[in-house]
Homo-oligomer: 480 residues x 2
Amino acid sequence: MQVQTDNLSPEEEIKRICREVVARVRPDEAERREVKALTEFVIARLNEKAEEQGVEARAISVGSTARNTWVSGEADLDIFILFPPDLSEEDLKEQGLALAKSVVSGRYEERYASHPYIHAYLGAHEVDLVPCFAVKDAASLKSAVDRTPFHNEYVAERVRGLEEEVLLLKRFLKCRGIYGSEQRRKGFSGYLCELLILKYSSFVGLLKNASRWRFGERIEIEGRGKYKDRDRNKEKEKDALVVIDPVDPNRNVAAVVSLDSFCRLIDAARDFLACPDASFFSLPSEAPAKAKAKAKAKAKAKEEREMSRAEFLKCVEERGTEFVMVLFEAPAVVEDVLFPQLRKAEASVARLLQREEFEVFRSDISVAVSAAGEKAFLVFELLVWQLPRVKKHLGPPVTSKHHAEQFKKKYIKLRIENGRYVVEVPRKYTDAVELLKNELGTCGLGKDVRGAVERGYEVLRNEEIKFFPGVGSFFKKYFG
Amino acid sequence: MQVQTDNLSPEEEIKRICREVVARVRPDEAERREVKALTEFVIARLNEKAEEQGVEARAISVGSTARNTWVSGEADLDIFILFPPDLSEEDLKEQGLALAKSVVSGRYEERYASHPYIHAYLGAHEVDLVPCFAVKDAASLKSAVDRTPFHNEYVAERVRGLEEEVLLLKRFLKCRGIYGSEQRRKGFSGYLCELLILKYSSFVGLLKNASRWRFGERIEIEGRGKYKDRDRNKEKEKDALVVIDPVDPNRNVAAVVSLDSFCRLIDAARDFLACPDASFFSLPSEAPAKAKAKAKAKAKAKEEREMSRAEFLKCVEERGTEFVMVLFEAPAVVEDVLFPQLRKAEASVARLLQREEFEVFRSDISVAVSAAGEKAFLVFELLVWQLPRVKKHLGPPVTSKHHAEQFKKKYIKLRIENGRYVVEVPRKYTDAVELLKNELGTCGLGKDVRGAVERGYEVLRNEEIKFFPGVGSFFKKYFG
């Protein structure tokens, strides 16, 4: 089943593909020079201004541009401004932002991680200017971003010579939709990619290992980490992957990686090793690498087009299921805040539906921009959406004297089934849409989603579902 | 809420009701004389004939007529014919049946328990003539019926003076439909009733205790029994009630009592103690004890009439559920063989329905006589009887490399959900009736039910369900 060229062995074919991909995604000399020049310019300006302002601060370059592990065309600069650790948080914020703003001339935004930073646009590049404390070691953090300079220090020299392997991994993950640690994606961060390459020495070495990973796989580069898996019984689920941070043995660098992202890497690793093909490194929106170009171009055209309402309704008809969309205005919060709340709402609404015996086949969430602004939505595909009026209400075991007596006071016509009292009651909601129209507020929604829902929401079924831009591509991805 | 007469206390009211019931159900002097005379006559004839035939055998009276614990009008004689324990099974059978037959003149049948016996009709009475071995003690049984003479010996003298209490209990249980150890009923046998009265000294004493029974309640009259509860994990369910046989510590006299019968006694005990009323001792088909007679008579008339097809369809319409009947000729076996097989079939078919995602709300079984002979049927009331074409098929965890590879060879379009591969496949049966029409044979059916089903069966829904005599009363009881 292996797609080979010129009768190469699978190993040789993989090498050939990787060479091709690296040639495409590695920044060329001109890009590297440009990024280096820009970085040095910003750092020099910052240090100059610090001196002018009499502020004790020092700028350093961190992240992928500092380590030559950025993918061509995606060079975003991370400049950290280190302040003395005995500075107050207040002063750090004030002095840090003032210093950062003093060097940016064009468009910029103030953003917030654990504390505020400046996100600026410099020509074709975006630059994060992040004030932090120059703590002694990663164990003495004053804020989460203080760890970054240590990450940089750890990776920078060790990754030298392995940059191309990191690029291959980042590209491979990006094409699977699992590169990046944003909440929307819950994939693999750039730093995590670098650590995985350090651990396994090469992209292919990582794939070979990943294809045999087990749930909760634990990876330690620097001796034994102290990090303990989160308890399965607690609210958060157990980590799918544990990669001990070499600069902080109490931290799991892969904590954000979802079970699905973890599985998708394992799955793709096996697929690629079994049938190496350049298409593994093509984004859906890009031209296919070579060959089969005509068929692929046609497929691509279809893929790029959003699914139409008519196509969606044909799918629904074929499946025979009921699609229910809960639609509301997206609350004005960043995606990393919004997406966990949408996932929480999805799970809670699914539980409500199941509890009321409406069988959920599948569900998903997303955000898209309608004419009326940004909209968030939950979609539930139901196996059962209408139910008989009669409902079984389970009472206590007959042998529980006290509870039995209470229950019998409340209900007249009861019977005994498997040792318990059972009573038949009228079902409050015989239709799933009615249930959601009336009871959505009883679900566990995040603070911002609750606020948005309280301002109003719609529950739409099948042909009522609105196809504003983004909804079609959501369903195209859903039906795969 | 207590229905009292003449301001009696609940205790006095209970005594009054019990006195009334005893007066009704206790055999009068004439009946007792008649039964005694008949018993002595049969025993004398048997012993005579044995001597004539040169057979070493001795007849004794056992059961309720031997202990004065039969309910008036229900005197069935149990005469056991004891043979020497060194006789062969063959000879016992041959000599026993010959001897029994030699004393019956009218109508009789050969029946089988652990070995054959004669069931004869003598005037208004039915008589069982049961050959058995006169073993030394209950631990040296040669057949299950050999135990009966020991039961008789144990109870006969101990129960003297408590006969009325036994009668009350038997009547109380009969009116709940839980008197008798037949498989159809799985209730309390006469011997069990006597033991319970011996244990608690009175009917009311038993009720007070039963109202506090727990699952697996263990009752021992003669010291510590050796009987161990059946293992919950084995095929058979754990005994709801354990009453150690005083003549055989390895035996649970209440083994046949179902969880439902057990619970119904507990439930009724609490009800009667809380609101003592003579109606607890009235069978549905009998005239009400007193008062409220007019309303009750009207209710009774309705109750006695079978539910009509139109009434049934109105109930179905109101509930909104789907009734599915599996109908076939009852196999020619006794009820004690048939009913466990029907229950087994019911459970197995319900599992099939649930496995295919058709939600079973409730089910029951019965036997009734149609114009075309005796019919057996299973009835399933469904919450969900039609499903979309699409079905989810769960694959292995992504991390199970070998199974994952096998699964991916088999299916093209799969996705990952909660760490497992998932594929959507067409549902084979989108209708529950179609499922049963085609797949009933795959269910676990008893030998005789399987044979009957293989000879042909119908699957009928709602308005298709046939209302031959017995079906109406089945549904009347079902809808309570």
